[in-house]
Symmetry: C2
Subunit: 722 residues, 2 copies
């Protein structure tokens, strides 16, 4: 396998936001954007905390960024050498995804001569609270140099500032800043300690929002001066409180333990592709990101749609997790998948509240779920570029399909792991409550004999308030089916749980209602051309091209959907919708129907969401067309490798990493190209590799056992590991 590194060899101020995502570190507890140490908040550095949220005034609630312990810059002759202000003579930045180490090296010409700064840093994969950094200075002259390093409490926020109070402390060589959020009084503490092995005059400067060590020394030409820094991040709401005394932590041990932890993770998660270095690299880069954000040591936390790359999309959890990410985790670290589902079990009261708010029964999971299942999504999710007014969108109230995605994930998880026990530990109740929600959405026309669901937003968000969206209806049907099936399973295998739930729900009656609902719900069938209409009236909309619709934009940033968007009255859709449904229920459709729908919808899809390409790619695989699938797979795997994703929705910045796309790439590789299916708790592969691929090799966990899978052409070798 090739070296797994991303690297740039020159500096570009324009790419600061992109590189923040591209070079990201993370350990699930927090993400560390791939920004430079000298950056203050205008350049978007951040230590983005998983699952901690705060609201300022009436702005959107969003995740919280910790005080930044990486903040460091160097001065020569009282002049600060920091990018982007001080122009450099050379610069490189690198991320070693094998061990999760970020490196940079920059040279400046000072009045005294050349100055070189290099750093290495990592978010510890072994100790979730810890960050380590080595910061090195070398000069080609003899002279006075000053390194300023400490903690910057003046953090980058989208809707901040979240810290209404900042306690800046220094005690026994440890400096720290504790921020207290305004809404709930949560504290987030960053401690930091440094080790230097050279003579220097070290003092500490405190200001309102910053604490900096001033390390003054006389640099000798050609000699390298190293500052090693350890930082610990913790909060008042940690699942596992930080009990370390930072002064006792060895930098080198911290580093080697983190590297070892990464080695262990890569052992199970790396995917080798023989004959396609580009795809292999992109896929493993995607897997790197999934590894950086997995809530490995957290209880009942899930993954935000933009991972831990910042506050975009409010740091909230979307259906992305259940539809596109969980597959990877359930086959490489089932405990993480379980944690993701636990998050939904734990937050059911939030979902119940939301259902009630809309006059529905059961559980309606948040479109943008924050702690406790709090719905972070606003009724006004897009800003009109022409009037600058918030637009009343229907992401929040009408994307009913999110609850069904949760149930679909339970099904996938149970199939992959055999962990039926989750049903007795909150899983069945969650599924029943989701089914209850769909039951209260069902409508029967006075002159028709089936159940319909009206006024929804499907995965294709450009068409709001449609009736009988085939994706939504089929997913609701699945939810009813699973509620019935799992109720039966629990009755048989977990009697105590059954009795308890039966008292609450009258399960016989309820199962019957769900059974009827599943049988009578209207799911559109293919028309005479084999194509399934996305929703009532979709075929009557203007049939045009994505380019034609794009050409109607008056402003690049205007929203394509909503009531009056350029796509709204056309058949142009944002992302896979019917195609997503077909991918998920492939056993119910013929290859011919799948292909016809792919051919109909793909040219009409803008792929305006990073969730789209992988779904199309997957369906192509299911129709036996791996070569058509391939470019879409590559697009999906490269979501954060290449600059060029959609960074704006209306006037709202939506940049960041794309874990759903990355998870989707993994799904295509393993379920599409390698053709993985779980039959009787065991992996089976029916590969259909792209033409130029010679083979694949990867490990998988299925029903608690580790398997090593090797594919060469059409030959498959599946070995159970000991």
């Amino acid at each position: 396998m090739n070296e797994l590194k991303v690297r740039v060899n020159e500096y570009s101020k324009d790419k600061i936001p992109f590189h923040g995502n591209h070079f990201l570190n993370g350990n699930g507890y927090f993400g560390v954007r791939g920004t430079l140490e000298e950056y203050s908040k205008e350049y978007m550095p951040c230590i983005n905390m998983a699952g901690i949220y705060d609201q300022v005034e009436d702005k959107w609630r969003e995740s919280v960024n910790a005080p930044n312990p990486l903040y460091t810059y160097v001065s020569v002759d009282n002049k600060k050498y920091a990018l982007p202000e001080a122009e450099c003579v050379s610069h490189s930045q690198e991320l070693d995804i094998d061990c999760g180490i970020h490196k940079r090296e920059t040279e400046w010409d000072t009045v005294c001569g050349r100055l070189k700064v290099s750093s290495k840093r990592f978010a510890s994969m072994a100790n979730q609270h810890a960050i380590g950094m080595e910061y090195q200075v070398t000069t080609d002259f003899n002279g006075a140099v000053e390194i300023s390093t400490g903690i910057d409490g003046d953090v980058w926020d989208i809707n901040g500032p979240h810290f209404v109070k900042l306690d800046v402390c220094e005690s026994d060589h440890v400096i720290s800043i504790t921020g207290t959020t305004g809404e709930k009084g949560i504290t987030v503490t960053t401690q930091e300690i440094i080790r230097i092995d050279f003579d220097a005059d070290v003092s500490v400067e405190k200001s309102e929002k910053r604490i900096l060590r001033k390390i003054k020394f006389h640099a000798q030409k050609g000699f390298t001066y190293t500052v090693k820094k350890i930082a610990l991040i913790s909060s008042s709401v940690d699942d596992h409180p930080c009990r370390d005394d930072i002064r006792t932590i060895s930098y080198d041990e911290l580093k080697s333990e983190s590297i070892k932890a990464w080695e262990k993770i890569w052992d199970i998660s790396k995917v080798e592709i023989d004959g396609d270095d580009e795809a292999e690299f992109a896929l493993n880069y995607s897997i790197y990101h999934l590894n950086c954000i997995a809530p490995r040591k957290l209880k009942g936390k899930s993954i935000p749609a933009r991972g831990l790359s910042g506050q975009v999309y409010k740091g909230a959890v979307f259906w992305d997790t259940e539809m596109f990410m969980i597959d990877y985790y359930m086959h490489t670290d089932p405990a993480v998948a379980r944690t993701l589902l636990q998050y939904r079990i734990d937050t059911i009261d939030g979902a119940r509240r939301k259902a009630k708010e809309y006059g529905l029964n059961g559980a309606y999971y948040a479109w943008e779920s924050q702690e406790g299942g709090f719905e972070g999504c606003s009724d006004y999710n897009v800003v009109d570029v022409f009037t600058k007014r918030p637009m009343r969108t229907h992401f929040r109230d009408k994307q009913y399909h999110v609850s069904a995605a949760v149930v679909y994930a339970f099904m996938k998880y149970i199939n992959a792991t055999g962990d039926y026990g989750i049903l007795a530990e909150g899983g069945l109740e969650t599924i029943i409550e989701c089914a209850g929600m769909y039951r209260s959405l069902l409508l029967k026309k006075a002159d028709r004999d089936c159940f319909e669901i009206h006024d929804v937003v499907g995965p294709d968000e450009y068409h709001e308030r449609v009736n009988n969206n085939v994706y939504t209806n089929r997913m609701a049907k699945h939810c009813f089916e699973k509620a019935v099936e799992y109720t039966g399973y629990v009755k048989e295998h977990f009697a105590e749980c059954y009795t308890e739930l039966d008292k609450k729900y009258d399960l016989v009656k309820l199962s019957k209602l769900f059974q009827i609902s599943a049988e009578q719900i209207y799911v559109k069938e293919p028309d005479e051309n084999g194509v399934i209409e996305q929703f009532d009236g979709y075929f009557k909309l203007e049939d045009t091209s994505v380019d034609a619709v794009r050409s109607r934009l008056l402003d690049d940033r205007e929203y394509w959907g909503g009531a009056y968007g350029v796509a709204s009255q056309t058949q142009i859709i944002k992302q896979a919708d019917v195609v997503a449904m077909l991918s998920m229920f492939k056993e119910e459709y013929t290859t011919d129907i799948m292909r016809k729908n792919w051919l109909y919808y793909e040219p009409r899809t803008e792929h305006g969401s990073s969730l789209s390409a992988c779904m199309y790619s997957l369906l192509s695989c299911y129709t036996g067309d791996a070569d058509t699938a391939y470019p879409l797979f590559l697009k999906s795997a490269k979501a954060d490798l290449l600059l060029g994703g959609k960074e704006w929705a209306g006037l709202v910045y939506i940049g960041g990493t794309h874990p759903a796309s990355e998870g989707g790439a993994w799904i295509v590789a393993v379920k599409g190209f390698a053709g993985l299916e779980i039959i009787d708790g065991k992996p089976i592969c029916k590969p259909q590799l792209p033409n130029h691929w010679k083979g694949m090799k990867f490990k998988l966990i299925v029903h608690g056992k580790v398997y090593c899978i090797q594919i060469k052409g059409n030959d498959v070798k599946i070995e159970e590991q000991n």
Copy 2:
């Protein structure tokens, strides 16, 4: 009674559009805008034809304007004296509403001296094809004068030109222009002949779109030269073809017959109000307009929302006719009311087509009904002021209440006239088809036991796509009820008709379905404060003031409703909605409930429609509060007396006359203040006059009999006339 004249004594170019409406003539077959004779199309003169429509390219279909036979101007010394270009020294314009005669008098200072032009004209109320005009010139000098008069075929059009061919003819003293429409090849012919009793050199000049007589004479100081003109307008689709030879028509007879016809109309329609000259005048001015547009000699034509004042709103028929106008006609000229209903009977196939287009059964009457029930309303009825793009509105597809208004009008008509015969002549089938449409709108939630109607636009158009609009649901219920009741009546009294319809519809079964529908449809009830929520979720919308909402406008012309209008997410409504429902079903609610709803909704109503004030006024009367009703009544009666109505919806011009408002004023006067009810086919009045009114006197036709009603304070005298 005071003199019934409207008059202005000075000229204002700005008021050209307003005066066109304010001084309108008409006879039901056409309307003649109150513009000056010398106006060419940029000043909006028009002879607007009832019920003739045409479409140019893909623009909106609209009514057609005939070639204009009034076109006349005068020249002295080769200089044209015509407003507004040639400044005048005096000007007056007058409309005598007693006899429907329009007058103007204008003086100019010419190089030779003073020139006075005066004219009188009328749309004949006796001969629906005819217009008469006397055009007079007087000078205070002796000199050469030229009168140019003829026919202008270059007519004002909003979405024209409609005539793809213009035949300009002269034959035996008669000149004419025949225009042929592009869409259907309908011809509209204007003939004209003049009579002069002075020596002049008369020649005819033809051009492509105009034919003009040049009348040159030597004017003598102080002498008045009169040109009398007769014009006949006819079309290839006339209900009653024009058979007159224009050369044989006597001008004086034409005029005196028209005056006599007006006298007869006023005899039955005038309303006297003792103690309030202002209200009396405004009300009779309103009645004048209703008289000008009544389809008296037409078969199955109805009245456009802007009367015959032009092409605004496409010359189309709205629910306005059934809800606000028909009451006046059924009590003053029942044959006109019958004609209005006949229009709906005759156009049922158009309504069936529209229902089918939306996947519904039965008859869904057009929101903007043109000939044959053609739906003139576009899916894009408003233009966005910011982007200049058409906005996808839901006037066309979701204002289901129009069919119920038709049924409500049948009920009112039958109650007022006793003409049950209409049921056997298409009426019952119309009502059944409307009920069938509502039946196919009914939805039952899986967990609820009543019928709901979702996704509608109620009378308050600012809130689109709402559920369970109380007005719509109650009206649908009324429709079901009447279908059942009238089916029973027809079974008993019109056996042949019953048998025929029974074959087609299986009436026993259908009546049962309608009965169940009526019983089970959900009509919101008053809440704990006695207020009825306009639709599901209305009370959750922002509760603010009309002024606050207005202050949010970025552009005066922007649309308040739709998905993102300033009113859309607030409780601010366009017009009476719950209040309209209460006015129509007053017997079902207590005075207390009516008052509480009035008090809740009135401050939240923009009254952005001229239909609104009269509904609020009527409900005030029903709650016994005539003094609160009074200003709203006056506002309604003065809709075309005062400048200041809403002239724009988005970028679309919506000016013109307001017959629904005028009809509404009549309803308030007669059903509100005079308290008319029809009990057992006889009129009963329970008056509650505004405090300063001493009495009222008016005639009414009820069940074929003419009654004279005199109210003095609380005393009522009702005399049947012989």
